[in-house]
Subunit: 426 residues, 2 copies
């Protein structure tokens, strides 16, 4: 029965029962964490054999222990290119953090401009940046740090609302970029439709130095290897549409091997790659090539990578299923929430009734279950409707997840009933 169809007496009875249940939970002294998208220990163990690899010489004879090779060993570029489905010569292999690449990419545009001869963003007044919401807090944080004005763009099941995006970029030269997680987006697990990808590549922009920050963080992170989402090749689509330098593409093995010790890479158009290498050559002599060799030797090629991802999927799938089933069982009939059931990635997106996200997160915390802070999925941490909550089922064991998900549902129900009662009394 939908909560909204209940009368005051029914709601009060439910409130009393839920409150008692909630108090019982609090007595359990739980300490569970569903806040961040961290791989679990079992997932990290999958890559332990990589540490047995002690190769120090690259295929071309380069001593990987010594200085040099700014953009990555050839075999590492080849591997990362296969992984990211882009040509080898459009890739630069970096260190362990794609976030760091994104930050430096914004920094370069800000300090030096996006290409030789282009005016630095710092000299162009107020810079505006499009942020599909809900989205990834660390993305928003980078552009906030540089003082940009962050503009919310609603997500749809096909990706960002392209009507809104096209309108915003068409007339305003201050709009310089957009954050995108095109496959299994954070937090919704949304897969951009082919039409969305093509419109993003082709749309006219008032700013010649407009760039799409394409964080393909979950490109091989399927929950079921027999049901893999695919999206068009964004680099190729941009080139075909006459915007070869529009895409800034990011990827990493952080959630494939080790989050602290993976490989990250950047892909872009030919002029951009040339320019970034030139600017980088002042910043560093090169990244960790021993770790590049470890990764290449461990995976071999894309097929080896996908075999490895199947093992991750086997660990993650039951966790996502547990949360999805619990949500459906506990909340499916009540009409007080909606949520996504992604086919990949690390998150589920959950919407309460407006105005309840903070309350639910606080109630969960009080009973020992930590969630991502309400508001985190919006720029400046401000969810205008206070309804979105990111669920991150990857880290806890499935039995803990069951408890956490049940408590979460209880809190959603209780907060919803309280809200409806307050409205009836108002």
């Amino acid at each position: 029965m939908r909560l909204s169809a209940m009368n005051t007496a029914e709601l009060q009875k439910m409130q009393a029962e839920l409150t008692k249940e909630y108090e019982d939970y609090k007595k359990l002294g739980l300490s569970l964490n569903m806040s961040r998208g961290k791989p679990s220990k079992a997932q990290l163990d999958l890559s332990l054999p990589m540490l047995d690899i002690k190769q120090t010489t690259a295929a071309d004879g380069t001593d990987a222990r010594n200085y040099g090779v700014l953009d990555g060993l050839p075999e590492a570029k080849r591997f990362m290119a296969e992984f990211m489905s882009v040509p080898e010569d459009s890739v630069i292999v970096f260190g362990n953090s794609s976030l760091n690449i994104m930050y430096d990419t914004v920094m370069r545009a800000y300090v030096f401009g996006v290409l030789p001869g282009e005016k630095p963003w710092k000299d162009q007044g107020k810079i505006k940046f499009l942020c599909p919401v809900p989205g990834y807090d660390r993305h928003f944080g980078v552009t906030e740090a540089f003082g940009f004005e962050l503009i919310n763009v609603p997500m749809t099941p096909q990706g960002p609302d392209m009507d809104a995006v096209e309108k915003l970029v068409k007339d305003d030269p201050q709009v310089k970029g957009i954050w995108c997680v095109p496959k299994y987006s954070n937090p919704e697990g949304c897969v951009y439709s082919a039409a969305t990808v093509r419109r993003m590549a082709a749309m006219p922009t008032a700013a010649a130095d407009f760039r799409v920050f394409w964080d393909n963080a979950y490109c091989v992170h399927h929950l079921d290897m027999d049901d893999q989402a695919e999206i068009p090749d964004f680099l190729a689509e941009c080139a075909a549409a006459g915007h070869p330098e529009r895409p800034y593409i990011f990827g990493s093995t952080s959630k494939i091997t080790f989050p602290g010790a993976g490989l990250a890479a950047f892909a872009a158009g030919p002029e951009t790659i040339k320019y970034v290498k030139k600017l980088m050559s002042v910043q560093t002599i090169g990244h960790d090539k021993l770790n590049q060799l470890r990764h290449v030797a461990f995976f071999g090629d894309r097929a080896g990578l996908l075999r490895h991802m199947a093992k991750h999927a086997d660990i993650l799938r039951p966790k996502f299923q547990m949360v999805a089933e619990t949500l459906q069982r506990e909340l499916g009939d009540l009409g007080c929430a909606d949520w996504t059931t992604p086919k990949g990635g690390y998150f589920m997106s959950f919407n309460t009734m407006p105005g309840l996200a903070k309350r639910v997160v606080a109630m969960c915390k009080e009973a020992g279950v930590e969630l991502t802070g309400a508001g985190a999925t919006y720029p400046y941490g401000k969810d205008p409707e206070d309804k979105n909550i990111r669920l991150a089922p990857s880290m806890p064991p499935v039995e803990d997840l069951k408890v956490a998900a049940e408590l979460f549902c209880l809190c959603v129900k209780l907060a919803s009933v309280e809200k409806l009662l307050a409205e009836k009394q108002a």
Copy 2:
């Protein structure tokens, strides 16, 4: 006999002999490289056992494979602090490149200011930076990339000419920083005197946001462990002088373990450390903690580190001796050059007669010996007297080094004789 005391006939005879010798060298088809300060294979092999370390858990139980720990694992901070002779809480452990830390430190001052509330350098007009010369090309390159005006300050045997430095910083608020390599400097191998270090810490500066970029790259890189240079603790000296936030201190294990896969670290005053951590938290989730554990387990502590450095010294010492002896034997009596014989570091600094450095480097190259480009030791690559050449004896085997040094001396002699003859004919 000094070349300057020779008459024309003597010089012509010498020119003829040297030219013949030079032509003979060219026929050898040499391909030797003394251009960069790279460790040799034998040195890299010293750290190979580090790759056997497969520890994944930190002393406090942290899974080093996963995300997190922005400023380095506690044991890594302790080790890097011991290595850099600074307190543990003044250290942040970064990735594999101290150059990258320096670049990012300049970038932060430029974009955000040196501390909360300080005006970013980008908003303060023309920024000037002091560059002790001869110095390190990559240092100069960073500040050149940000468009600063680089001001040459002469080096003395005690470090930068402090009279000149004090004068430049006292009245001009546009002077925001200075590059220093305080121990075994690049390229002279100069060790700053205690007085230089204390004056650098205490001097009044017109700019409140003046900073000393203290690249202690060679702090344990002695050529003879029984003759170790020591310098005062710069962090403590600055604090004692009332300038606790003046020092930006950099160090790395690049020339201790692996240049491509070492640890780099940053040390600074308490407000700076707090501020940098805050800005960094937007840029990355953390650096490679598995590599941190490898380093800590491999060395244990500072004593273990110094035992390891003794092995490096045993490999490097004969190379530096070979070059020093060759220079002395071939050029010692001719009065046409001077050079340094450092007790540590990776370089020797060599001065030809004015106007000959480019010519000598080109002659060496033509005969198959690559040296660091003439001018590289000066900002903008412009040595005003065209006389300084950096010699980097670390990489080639000692037998190659013998040939390279002899050819080098030959080129210096020939270029000098040619110059003196031209002067006599003028």
